[in-house]
Amino acid sequence: MATQDVHAATLDHAHAAGHGHDHHDDHDEHHEQSFIRKYVFSEDHKIIAKQFLITGLLWALLGGALSMLFRLQLGFPNMDWTWLKPVLGNWIVDNKLDPNFYLAMVTMHGTIMVFFVLTAGLSGTFSNFLIPLQVGARDMASGFLNMLSYWFFFISSALMLISLFIETGPASGGWVIYPPLSALPQAMPGSGMGMTLWLTSMAIFIASSLLGSINYISTVINLRTRGMTFTRMPLTIWAFFLTAVIGILSFPVLFSAALLLIFDRSFGTSFYLSEIYINGQPLDNMGGSPILFQHLFWFLGHPEVYIVLLPALGITSEVIATMSRKPIFGYRAMIGSMIVIAFLSFIVWAHHMFVTGMNPFLGTIFMFLTLIIAVPSAVKAFNYITTLWRGNIIFTPAMLFSIGLVSLFISGGLTGIALGNSAIDIQLHDTYFVVAHFHLVMGSASFFGMMAGVYHWFPKMFGRMMNEKLGYIHFWMTFAGVYLVFFPMHYIGISGFPRRYYSFTSYDTFNMYQDLNSFISVAAIITFSSQLIFGFNFFYSIFRGRRATQNPWLSNSLEWTAPINAGHGNWVGAIPNVYRWPYDYSKPGHALDYIPQNVPHWETVESNLDHENDLIAFEREMEAEALADPQSAH
């Protein structure tokens, strides 16, 4: 794998290294920023990205640890929990896990993973880090709002974390918080203070996510560098952009839904509540509709799964093309399919509600729309595979995780097609089959995308390389691990075992999968442990990793033309102009197997196609214009 570290010496694109080195120490000192402004309340998109990343990784650790605990319960229902008493305290009752806490952990695991890790940790990190660097901007449209976005996320995180430690426990009604369970504090301990904290935390989270998204959109639309047309943007940018669009259209709806729930809980309204008896006593609430909540929730909930997945797909496109040393196959088809997916994601939400008593005719319409999503998804899967096909593949850890993502996306997507059929879903709804489906296609696939992103852009973020050997170990253990964990769940689900049950062993009839459940738990623990290898590698490499070269993967996109440890403003001197798309890998006729985006066509006559030669005159003009007036708009 020596190819990766080809040194700057082999770069003939010398101007990729940036200009203006002679300005170096003109007048640095008196502008030195305080530590607080630089690393805490920073407005620099790169610092904010790292803040999101590290917070997200810590959340992933906690969310994963919770899943270890409930997997212990599911795999070993007769286990003696005394040894965990120091950690869990009163949640251990008579050497057993308190069932309420089981539900709390499942709920928190889902909330943490979906929102805090795979939305904030993934989108927040890579949209922030890559958008300005890859479109050629100094920073986000508003650094201030961007900073607010992180700190709102931080406050929301703190509230959610606190809720884990209160006496009645955190929210426990599932990450989808359906009322009436979540609306009535009498219903379960977790619906008291824990639910209040959940709702407050999520309201702030939504604000954070909106602030982030409007910034991403505005930056992509308004701050691209000269020559960076929409059809020259890396697919990462397209993915982040569409994710943000989905975000600003769907998160506000969750906000509305949550607000009505807050009113039902605390102000005696009855938006979601009607005709409820508790201990034989009727409640005052009349006239509400719990199904209404489900509609509002899934109007966010379904787009949310694509908010989680699209950035991962974008990262994969970039990594697969770079590491196959081939242009991405079907660049425009990739954009088109992402747009179609983004659009469809708004009109399929009711496939989560087939069994709510919905009119079967309406169900059929939603089934039809749902199944259409398979088409753009398949387009993407095929394009990844055809890009890999006969490529000059370099198996870096990032590349392995990207290929792993494609595999998971396919195997999880197939079960989606089964679930999308309303008739089949009657059997499968709320069973472990659904759990298997979305953990493969959303959980694991997006997590793989995030890992690919971290391994790939680590050198750009920290100026150092991660250790590859550890990366391989991490990948293979995780890859084998997630399949061993989630594949067997399909069988458990098909035989009708419901999700969110504390235990199946009270009746002998339901004991049949106990051995399989133990197997899954062991596999899960091994998979989780291998993430610790990653954690070590990550933090160790930040300080001790091998120093990175400027463009370690010989990649075409603009971020690699910025200095290794780019300061605020990203480029020293002028922002590079863009003359071509980012996927000129192995272009016939060119001496090297890559041509960065900022290399004009007049420097590559030997590999130009006819229409590219025609561009030269125009490019000369553009360059002259840029030299004459580096500040001007274009």
């Binding site: 300005h23 100094r138 308004n222 600003i248 009113f263 938006f271 006239g287 480029w571 020293v572």
Partner: protein, 207 residues
Amino acid sequence: MKSDTTANYQQPYDGALVTEEAAPVLSMHPKKFLMWLIIVSSIMVFAAFTSAYLVRRGEGNWLTFELPPIFYISSVVIVLSSVTMHWAYYSASKDNLLSLKIAILLTAVLGLLFTYMQVQGWQQLVDVGVYFGGKDSNPAGSFVYVLTAVHIGHLALAFGLLVIILYRVFTYQVHAKNLAAIEICTTFWHFLGAMWLYLFVFLLVNH
């Protein structure tokens, strides 16, 4: 602010540089664009409420009642405030600082008056026995409270912007060559006026 931009990128940070150096591809001012995106997401908030309203109404058990009469007057007031807001913007673009100050202050007063009237509207609802919550409430009534309250919540944000503008007007930072801030504020103010009119008509048609 610095004018010497290119030489300074070695410095860790200088906020002024960033805004100057960004080379916009579209001609839209990025901050104005941000405001439009904020408007889009707040449209989604109200779209969610009004569609929830329709879905819930379709399920029956729905209280019908007359909307508070004061809402007619408050609608006029908020339209007037939009007019004065626009007047303020116009005055700024003509560098007419005196009428700019008057117009901004008038806008603020009309905005407060509108808010007061909305709250009076709640009182009128209570008087006819339409409650927000509790035993005798019905979602039909609760929705009216929620819609008006969330609208007022947005208005509070707009007041925040207005105060910033007010400060800038009195420190001479708003004038014909520096219109972005007041333009952003105007856009949001008009949006909130239009949003109230939409909500009012929606409630009139669907109650």
